[in-house]
Symmetry: C2
Subunit: 763 residues, 2 copies
């Protein structure tokens, strides 16, 4: 709790940096610093809901490689910012929120005064470059607003955004030698060779355009920009940091170092120079486009008409207020900070990927026009199919339908003819296992969305799931499981395919496609093929069927699994908990198994190999910081001890979510961690996307109203609530007691009152 107190203190006592956001009810509860320390991998900068621009500080820009190999230190900088760092390198325009692998960090801007330094310098010696020390005491952030004093030169930086435009406001001291540096080399998860090509054109003394083309997580990615200064620069220049090339051509006819209008290469830094008076503000509007420089300029002039920073900030915050207010909760400030920051993190991704004229780049690397939908990218589907998209199905049904249309466009344009696995910026990066887009499509269809072509969706699902040459799908189809000889993650792969297959079957059933239903409902039982009754765990097998020896059910790295060990992954049968319980020996043995998971001691050596999370992200051997167990606490609902679900949820909520920089026990993963929080705090959770059921848990809110798009309200009331009263003695929906351990989506969208009656004693 000390950490929380410190954080609140920091935000409230530095009067000079306090801002008045009193016109908003909910925006003040968004604490963008949550998750910026340790493993949360969130960023504190400015963005609007689902915006294309994420304008945020980089506290370091270390390379993905060291001595020609992977540099594990880069992992901390997935979102560019680490709370413990003491310097800021600059402000770049694109960031993933909460990911465990990374890319982006495009177009880093940094103001400075005095002798021009085009290298960032080191954290240990910020005077060696353009980076600046800073203090959290002189840093302040809100949704769509970030402010910091750069101590080295006493420059105050303020950032805000529209959907496609980053708006910078730099307050300079008096100087004859003020600079805005634009570093096109800089990037997140950079390595030599990642920058394929960058280009910069100075159109006039206030307008600059260009692009950055990278070969990273996204293999063929180009992002274009247009940048307008509020004040003309009197001088500009570039420097190329690429190794000297054999071929130089005839460009020596110009002095390219001095006010030259264009440059290109793989390693370019530029500077724009000003003379400033005391407290003079130099502002920059920086627009992005996935299509072209002209597209970026068009986006810029369409979205921001003038130089009113506060207006742009306010417009973005109004957008946040609108999105946040879709769920109005009651509770104390800490709860609201957790809840609305979770709402904020849940509505950053997927991100807009389309110009104002509806043009976007497709997976086929051609330019397309989005007809009848808004195109999105940044689909971290292994994470977000679980709770984030189900949350959108309730509070963002239109956007969720557009996201599905974006996935179907992806399918149409994909060279492999597959739905997205982990897609970003017109590229597929194939990160993580399964083909979980199918769960998003099935979930939306089963829950009644008619905003997309379900038949086309089914076709895309089936084509993806029959893609024999993708990650052992062929052997999975032939053998009914993935053999350990084919894959180092054979068990988690098998289990995830089986669940996804079940989701496809649900979509097929919905459409009356019996053959497809039969094919995939059969596949969905493949989870049984990797269960070893002798040890009671899901376990790697050879293609001959022999279980792999040795086998350590606590180990994540020992083969068979990804981001989870056998203890956790054995429970990954969300499509058939009854079957799983039967397989594992029935109710009592299953309850014991769950109890053990939450209470056993995980020796340190196993923690060290558990990816993506802090020690705090683990309860016993239950790993909340990774996603595969996100449904696990709800599995007690299928036993004779559903009260243990209630108990576990109320235990997990405060342990894993705290309103502090290190408040997240693991990567937020594009909002999945936050979506788990939102559902669980409200008292229910979608254990099985693709069904219309939500498992009931134990709410932590005092009350909540979900304002549905159909105009109705779904109200969650909690009687007799207290920190101790974690047990639910009764649940009433619209005056009728719910006897089951779930509610249906169709109930929620009808609107009405869901009343939890709380107790300190379980039934």
């Amino acid at each position: 709790m000390k950490r929380i107190f410190t954080f609140i203190l920091t935000c409230t006592t530095v009067a000079v940096y306090a801002q008045n956001s009193s016109k908003y009810q909910l925006v003040p509860f968004v604490k963008t610093m949550i998750g910026t320390q340790r493993m949360g991998h969130t960023y504190p900068g400015a963005t609007v809901p689902f915006g294309m621009v994420q304008l945020s500080p980089e506290t370091d820009t270390i390379s993905y490689e060291r001595n020609g190999k992977y540099n594990p230190d880069v992992y901390k900088y997935c979102a560019g910012y680490q709370y413990d760092d003491k310097t800021i390198v600059g402000f770049s325009h694109t960031h993933f929120s909460g990911t465990g692998h990374s890319d982006l960090g495009d177009f880093l801007i940094m103001p400075s005064v005095g002798k021009l330094q085009l290298n960032p310098g080191t954290a240990d010696d910020p005077s060696s470059g353009y980076r600046s020390p800073f203090s959290h005491d002189e840093e302040y952030s809100e949704a769509n607003y970030y402010k910091v004093r750069l101590a080295k030169n006493n420059i105050t930086a303020e950032l805000t955004t529209t959907a496609r435009v980053g708006f910078h406001q730099y307050t300079f001291p008096e100087s004859d030698d003020a600079h805005i540096i634009l570093d096109l080399m800089s990037g997140i998860y950079n390595y030599s060779g990642k920058n394929v090509w960058t280009y910069l054109r100075v159109v006039n003394d206030t307008l600059v355009m260009g692009y950055r083309q990278t070969n990273g997580w996204a293999r063929n990615r180009t992002l274009y920009f247009a940048m307008i200064f509020s004040k003309p620069f009197y001088r500009h220049g570039f420097k190329s940091y690429a190794p000297k090339e054999v071929y130089r051509g005839f460009w020596h006819k110009f002095d390219q170092t001095n006010n030259f209008p264009e440059i290109s290469g793989s390693q370019i830094r530029a500077h724009f120079d000003f003379k400033t008076t005391e407290r003079e503000q130099v502002k920059i509007k920086f627009a992005l486009s996935p299509v072209s420089m002209d597209g970026a300029l068009h986006n810029l002039v369409s979205e921001v008409a003038d130089w009113n920073f506060d207006k742009v900030k306010a417009q973005g915050q109004q957008l946040w207020e609108k999105e946040l207010s879709k769920i109005a909760i009651q509770g104390n400030d800490e709860l609201k900070q957790n809840f609305y920051t979770a709402m904020y993190h849940a509505m950053i991704n997927p991100t807009l990927y389309m110009d104002v004229d509806s043009l976007y780049k497709g997976l086929d690397q051609n330019i397309h026009k989005a007809s009848g939908f808004t195109n999105y990218t940044t689909f971290s589907l292994w994470d977000t199919y679980r709770a984030l998209h189900p949350l959108f199905t309730i509070i963002q049904p239109d956007r969720n339908a557009d996201m599905i249309k974006s996935m179907l466009a992806h399918y149409d344009q994909s060279p492999e003819h597959m739905l997205p696995v982990w897609s970003n910026s017109a590229n597929e990066n194939w990160c993580m296992s399964g083909y979980h887009a199918v769960a998003v499509l099935a979930d939306a269809a089963v829950k009644g969305s008619n905003q997309f072509d379900a038949a086309r969706a089914l076709e895309a699902c089936v084509a993806t799931a029959r893609k024999r040459d993708y990650e052992n799908i062929g052997t999975y189809i032939d053998l009914g499981f993935i053999p350990d000889t084919s894959s180092g993650t054979s068990v988690s792969g098998t289990l995830e395919y089986a669940y996804d297959d079940w989701a496809i079957a649900q979509l097929a059933a919905k459409l009356g496609k019996k053959d497809i239903y039969e094919e995939f409902i059969k596949r969905s039982q493949n989870y049984k093929h990797v269960y070893d009754a002798s040890t009671g765990f899901m376990r790697p097998r050879s293609s001959e069927g022999d279980f792999h020896v040795p086998f350590d059910p606590l180990s994540t790295s020992n083969g068979g699994f990804i981001e989870g060990n056998a203890w956790n992954y054995t429970l990954f049968v969300p499509q058939d908990p009854e079957g799983l319980i039967k397989l594992m020996g029935g109710n009592n043995r299953f309850v014991n198994y769950l109890d053990s998971l939450f209470t056993m001691h995980l020796p340190d050596k196993y923690f060290a190999e558990t990816e993506d999370i802090t020690r705090d992200g683990i309860i016993g051997n239950y790993v909340h910081g990774n996603e595969p167990s996100h449904h696990v606490a709800y599995l007690y609902n299928w036993t004779n001890k559903p009260w243990k679900t209630q108990e576990r949820i109320r235990m997990i909520l405060p342990l894993m979510y705290k309103p502090a920089p290190d408040g997240l026990g693991g990567n937020d993963d594009c909002g999945q961690m936050s979506a788990w929080y939102i559902f669980s705090a409200l008292g229910f959770y979608p254990v099985t996307p693709g069904s219309d059921r939500y498992e009931l848990g134990s709410p932590s809110v005092d009350q909540a109203i979900i304002h549905l798009d159909n105009g109705k309200n779904f109200v969650i009331k909690v009687t007799n609530k207290s920190p101790q009263n974690v047990y639910v003695s009764k649940v009433m929906f619209n005056g009728k007691e719910i006897k089951e351990h779930y509610i249906k989506h169709s109930d929620i969208i009808k609107g009405g009152d869901l009343i939890f009656f709380m107790s300190a004693q379980h039934k």
Copy 2:
């Protein structure tokens, strides 16, 4: 003459490769092999007039670099083909015609059978790779048609084109293991790092799309393609030859080596595999686009509807017949071969740079739509302003206007706000001196073209000529010459600027812009500032005005000049021959100077430093193989011995132009050498583009009819013609004797009869 005989023999005796082109009157006289040996730098492959595609064999693809430095051997391969070579590497889709620096060679295709070899191998050991030996006995080419038997595998390759599509026809032997190799690494003037990025997507078993992005002579160049096979390949694969990268991502989930649909990287080769029966033809339609892969596919389906190779060939040859027939000459076959091959080479460049939907990439790297004009690129203006564009003014006025509009679009889009110097593929490469686009614009305007906005043209000319920071323009303006301390080509630079300035003055005069006229007519006299009366040569000076010591008027490499020594460049005052003659001491001394130039002995050591030409390209010290002296033989017209112009021209014509592979005495330079031939063979030449005058020479044709676009004919008749009768005793135009040594453009476009009366004795 032996060489000529050999060539004619080769083309006529190999019956199996002879083609029937009898339906065309003029196409049969085009000998595309002319200039492919030694320094001509032409290519023998297929193209249509001004086409985007130049589909031609590469006999070698050696690198621009060797041991990290310039490799002078690369120079031979500016057009990819050298007649003396014994092997063919493959067939690529883009080639410059006659240039002395290079780029392109995009998308090399090679058929093979047997064991797959993805490396080209070496010329010494073609079995070491996919290249094949070939013989000129089994090679045949026409305008828009090329055929060769690839001896290694007995595959016959045939090539033809439309404007934007290369059409390949490969006749295979029977094989279970036939391949079409697509080498995306290959290129002309390649070096490590030139290929910035290449991308390939296999859409289905007959359609492949992709692009190649290079950093070469064109700094930011991307060319897209779409490729359709006539027969489905049963297998395909790729290999990346890039150094192993640190970052590989998650693509290992696929077996990318086996039928994988997409690949990208800087060094990629692909193969498409077939089973073929004896004499089975596999055809490929390969379309280009400067805009996108979709654009290329659109171009493909728009231009070629079916698989009829002969129809496509015929359509292109009809286009050639139409263009060639703009000038109908009479003469023997050798003359017609020279003339119509010159016509052919003159109408290859500039090249189309626009999709069928009028989209193209601009200098600003944005996509533009050409409204009201056809967009062209490949402007080798230092060469082509002299005679090629003046030729277009007569026989291609509409295209020339479109070229000017393309140059004005270039100006609008140029980051430097300048007209093109040497531009290609949405890039400026700044090759060679001067800003000669102004001469093209002025020439067209002065000659009455009203198809473009002359006021805008003047604005562009003035902006370009006032660009102080480009190649010493600032010091040139300030001092009236370029000092040798600022430039290694200070004299040629000064002389060319002075001429260009004169051209701008003419355009200003035409538009009544007196101030601009005064400014530039004054600048046009700057040639006098580098004349050294003590030696009688134009000579490098310091900024203080001292002439540089030592000074060797025979040396090209000794400072002050480019592609010409002081002897030649001293005569480069086409805008003011009278003034030059006065400066050089009057008529007699000037005649003596010219005589000496043509008759003196140039010691071998100076030849060695004369660029771009063979020994045959020099007559005495007169260098015809480079452009700066192209007007020189006509300068006698300003003296009392104009008959010496007639004599020299008739001497130069047969010496410098022969219907043989080594028939060109120097680089054809995008048609400038050929345009010189065409004018001179007809009996007149545009010594001073920007004036409406053509100097009269001595025609080598028996008769010629220029079919003008206005429907009129300009007929050149030659009476008493013989090889000995090189002198013109009288010239009549429409029944009236011409007393001056020139005719006017306005006379030509009126149509009528120009009659040369020839004699063995000069007047």
